[in-house]
């Protein structure tokens, strides 16, 4: 898993990038949706 800069190329696949964003995006979106539901109380 080491990544010492040896001059080799390391092309990051779009799938890997998508997986990384989904990994952080899902919990964040869940939290935002929960907060939004609570915030709707202001308009009731």
């Amino acid at each position: 898993m080491t990544n010492q800069n040896t001059g080799e190329a390391e092309t990051t696949s779009p799938l890997k990038i998508a997986a990384a964003w989904i990994f952080v995006g899902i919990p964040l979106l869940w939290g935002v949706s929960q907060t939004l539901i609570n915030a709707m109380q202001l308009f009731k």
Binding site: M1, T6, A20, W21, V24, A39, Q41
Partner: protein, 467 residues
């Protein structure tokens, strides 16, 4: 020892072809976790009933005692960011993020033991000291890394990470409540198990971030990006050593800019619920007030990304001018909204004010980078976070004490916050002046080119200073 070398900066240097878009998720892995600090208050009431279960007993902890947990954590946030900033910068982000993950999870585990044994000092030590150090180290390390990966959009990059810090509470708050409901029984509150589970989840999450983070190779720049041929007036191409930066007037002007912006925002953030109910009695119910707080939290998070991204186009100094001018107008408008019973205007003012509070945090790393270069921006940012600690004291104190003073002097509750709003507007005027005085850093503070790593010490720069 082989594992420890995996943490070295040299092992995190990206190979050609590595996508920089892997780095923001790595930063978010850390910031979403440490952002839990904003949601710590959900444990307050359950922790006052650890013995009594259904209600507090004299042996149970008091809310005032529990309030110290957050205060200690904030104190150690500022302290550790300042003290370990240079270590974070020179050791690389993986080592710092790994350390932050261990400290953060360790803080939760130690706090769980404190709950089990009913020893409050263990929670002070666990969440307060260990957790506070994790907050400081974890906050600055991904920020400086992102600045180096996104020289073309440093504001947007740091905005993404610092948005995660604001968003961390959104996840932690419902998660904590859900976990406590699962672990609680008729004879048990469930806080201890919740701490253990959250510590384990956060550890795994932060380790993912530490594993995927990379630093750009020396001389790397984004495809198609050409650095400006000549430095613009307010964007330096020179680096300033961390301890030399502290000697510049620019650092202290920006310190006050951040401190005053945060003081104004934090004062209303902490009191928004009570303030809205007292300014609109019978109109804003406690449930609606909770909704307003939720809405403000969303603006706090969104503002971190939007304002910092905007700063890439209009400049950091102009962005802070926007904060101060808009803030002054909005703070003056709040008493008018209260007096005329205009809830929508009141909510609008508070949401924009809070978006600028968040924007102040996320724009300042890029402001520092413009002034002092990228090399020690993390360490300088660490020192600057002491302004946050100071504002955490000033803001609530001004709001609470002025409200008390007004009420004891016969001012109706609905108008008790008016003077506070005008004082906040006054603070922003001072912030505006400080921002106006920020100029480019004098060349005598610049580091010599081609001087390497830790050898870039004060001695080296002293020569430059006397040259």
């Amino acid at each position: 020892m082989a594992f420890l070398s995996f943490l070295d900066r040299s092992h995190t240097v990206a190979k050609p072809g590595f996508s920089r878009w892997m780095v923001p998720p790595a930063a978010l892995c850390v910031h979403l976790c440490i952002g839990q600090a904003y949601a710590l208050s959900v444990f307050n009431l359950p922790m006052t009933k650890l013995i009594g279960i259904s209600q507090s007993t004299p042996e149970d902890w008091k809310l005032t005692e529990l309030g110290w947990i957050f205060s200690i954590a904030m104190l150690f946030l500022g302290g550790s960011a300042a003290v370990f900033g240079r270590w974070v910068e020179e050791g690389g982000p993986r080592r710092a993020m790994f350390t932050a993950g261990c400290l953060w999870a360790g803080g939760f585990f130690l706090s769980a033991i404190g709950v089990k044994l009913h020893m409050l000092w263990l929670i002070y030590l666990g969440y307060g000291v260990l957790g506070g150090c994790a907050l400081g180290i974890g906050y600055i390390s991904p920020v400086s890394t992102l600045i180096k990966w996104f020289p073309d959009r440093p504001g947007m990059a740091t905005g993404m990470a610092i948005m995660g810090f604001g968003g961390g509470a959104f996840i932690a708050s419902p998660l904590s409540v859900w976990l406590m409901s699962k672990f609680s029984t008729a004879t048990h509150v469930g806080v201890m198990e919740t701490f253990v589970v959250m510590g384990a989840i956060y550890f795994c999450f932060m380790m993912v971030g530490a594993t995927i983070v990379r630093v750009p190779a020396p001389g790397w720049k984004p495809a198609g990006y050409t650095p400006p041929a000549a430095a613009t007036k307010m964007i330096s191409r020179n680096d300033v050593y961390v301890y030399d930066a502290l000697k510049t007037p620019q650092f202290w002007l920006i310190w006050w800019v951040l401190c005053l912006n945060v003081t104004a925002g934090i004062g209303v953030l902490g009191q928004a619920s009570a303030m809205s109910q007292e300014m609109f009695p019978g109109v804003i119910t406690p449930i609606a007030a909770a909704g307003l707080v939720g809405l403000m939290s969303l603006f706090n998070m969104g503002g971190r990304f939007c304002w910092a991204s905007l700063s890439d186009f209009i400049g950091r100094k102009n962005t802070y001018f926007c904060f101060f001018v808009l803030g002054i107008i909005l703070y003056i408008t709040v008493p008018y909204a209260g007096g005329s019973g205009n809830v929508a205007l009141f909510a609008f003012c508070f949401c924009i004010i809070i978006s600028m509070y968040g924007g102040g945090f996320s724009t300042v790393p890029a402001y520092l980078r413009d002034m002092f270069g990228t090399r020690y921006v993390g360490a300088i940012h660490g020192w600057l976070l002491t302004a946050w600690s100071a504002a955490g004291i000033f803001g609530p104190v001004i709001v609470n004490y002025l409200r008390e003073y007004n009420i004891t002097h016969g001012v109706p509750k609905a108008q008790a916050y008016n003077n506070t709003m005008y004082i906040m507007a006054g603070l922003l005027v001072i912030g505006f002046i400080c921002n106006a005085f920020v100029r480019a850093v004098h060349a005598r503070y610049h580091m010599k080119p081609d001087t390497d790593g830790s050898a870039l010490n004060a001695a080296g720069t002293a020569k430059a200073a006397t040259a």
